[in-house]
Amino acid sequence: MENENNYNELELLDKYLDGKLTNEERKDLELRITEDEALKGELEVLQISRDAIRAVGIKNNVKRLHQKLIAEIRSEEKKVVPISRNNRFIRWTTGIAASLLLIVASFVAYQYATVNPDKIYAQQFLSYELPVTRSAETTMSAIDNSYLSGDYAQVIQHFNTSEQKSSRDYFLSAMSYLYTEEFDKAVTLFQTLVDKNNNTQGEKYFEQETDFYLALAYLKVGETAKCKELFAKIKADSKHLYHKNITRKDIWMLELMD
């Protein structure tokens, strides 16, 4: 009997979530929910349980399709990069290996002989793309819009005239200084962001992005040692967003210059 009563209550809540109660039943239930904490809790658990059931349904459907689609993607990848294993190919590659080695060695020697900060900067620099999704509560700021449209001078102008500056504004303006090649100003803004992050107990914003781009800005203002320090920090942290962008060779080249 107790079970049956429980099911009746559950069915009532279920129908409420489906919008299937009469106006009177709905009002009555809503009043009880405001007065009865346990009933409110029951409704919340039911709500998330129904949602979890749907999510598992979607997950299984995606998984089913994934297995088929990923096989097609992988087979197309193989078509793009055919791997020939015949002997002739192997003989051919072995035959030219020595020549290639010589070319690579000469290339590396040339690289080291001509190493300079501008070259490393040009090799490392990646454009930073701003995510362009929107939400109900937020709108894109003037700085976001100018950055998205590539108007970096405008980003800086908005930044300089804005009273309230968020970490995002600092980051985008520092990036804009990189684009407009005012590297000393970029360094100053990135350093401010580093200080902000160091002084906060809360979420740190653009921390890893700042490591990377501040290192590049250091290169351009002749602070090679500081750049090397940041590159080494990024390289040492395998979870760093830019870990794979930095090679041991980069650090070695910086040592040559330092």
């Binding site: 998330i48 999510a55 598992v56 979607i58 399709l65 097609e72 993607i73 995510p131 999704t133 929107r134």
Partner: protein
């Protein structure tokens, strides 16, 4: 690949919302955006297997957000998926390195990640446990509740698929299964507080 022609953002959203063309939408996304999304994971310390897991999870979240009208047409599907994948993967990396959890409060609403996506990920993270409990519920219950809540089949349609003598028996079974899941949720330590926050973020 079976998908032919190009689907616009509107076509994709309609296909997902209709429920009937959802496979076509997923195929299109795989064909056109998979390598872009995979690359986010590969270039950030992940491997192909990580990418496969993350992209499947991204699609589940994306489909749900579309169904709940949390996807806004101002962003293209491509950039929405890009941001979602990047955020989910970063949160995964943080978990792996035991760094800060993502469900901290936002000091500035425009910071780093879009609030819609970030809130939904907090919700999704808490709900994952309920999903796991549901998967443990047993095959029969699993099937019946999926017919009701995922497929949205009517009592009559479900009755044709399962072996129950009447709608009343099926109804009782449905609520027995649902009650079983709710009891499992209620007896999971600490889950209730998490769910409260989750519901505030994901409604």
């Amino acid at each position: 690949m079976q998908v032919s022609g190009k689907l616009t953002n509107e076509d994709l959203i309609l296909a997902i919302k209709s429920g009937t063309n959802i496979d076509e939408a997923i195929s299109f996304i795989y064909k056109n955006y998979y390598s872009l999304l995979e690359n986010i994971v590969l270039s950030n310390n992940g491997n192909k297997a990580d990418a496969e897991d993350i992209i499947q999870e991204v699609l589940v979240i994306f489909i749900e957000m579309v169904n709940k009208d949390k996807y806004r047409a101002e962003a293209s599907v491509k950039s929405f998926l890009y941001t979602l994948t990047r955020n989910l993967w970063i949160s995964e990396l943080r978990k792996k390195s035991s760094a800060q959890k993502r469900n901290t409060s936002y000091e500035d609403s425009r910071e780093l990640i879009e609030r819609d996506i970030s809130d939904y990920l907090v919700y999704h993270e808490s709900r994952k446990l309920v999903m796991t409990l549901f998967e443990k519920l047993g095959e029969k219950c699993n099937k019946i509740l999926t017919y009701f809540y995922y497929d949205n089949f009517s009592m009559k349609e479900i009755l044709q698929k399962v072996d129950y003598e009447s709608e009343q028996v099926l109804r009782n079974k449905k609520y027995k299964c649902l009650k079983g899941l709710i009891n499992m949720v209620n007896s999971s330590p600490g889950i209730k507080e998490n769910l409260k926050t989750a519901l505030q973020n994901g409604k």
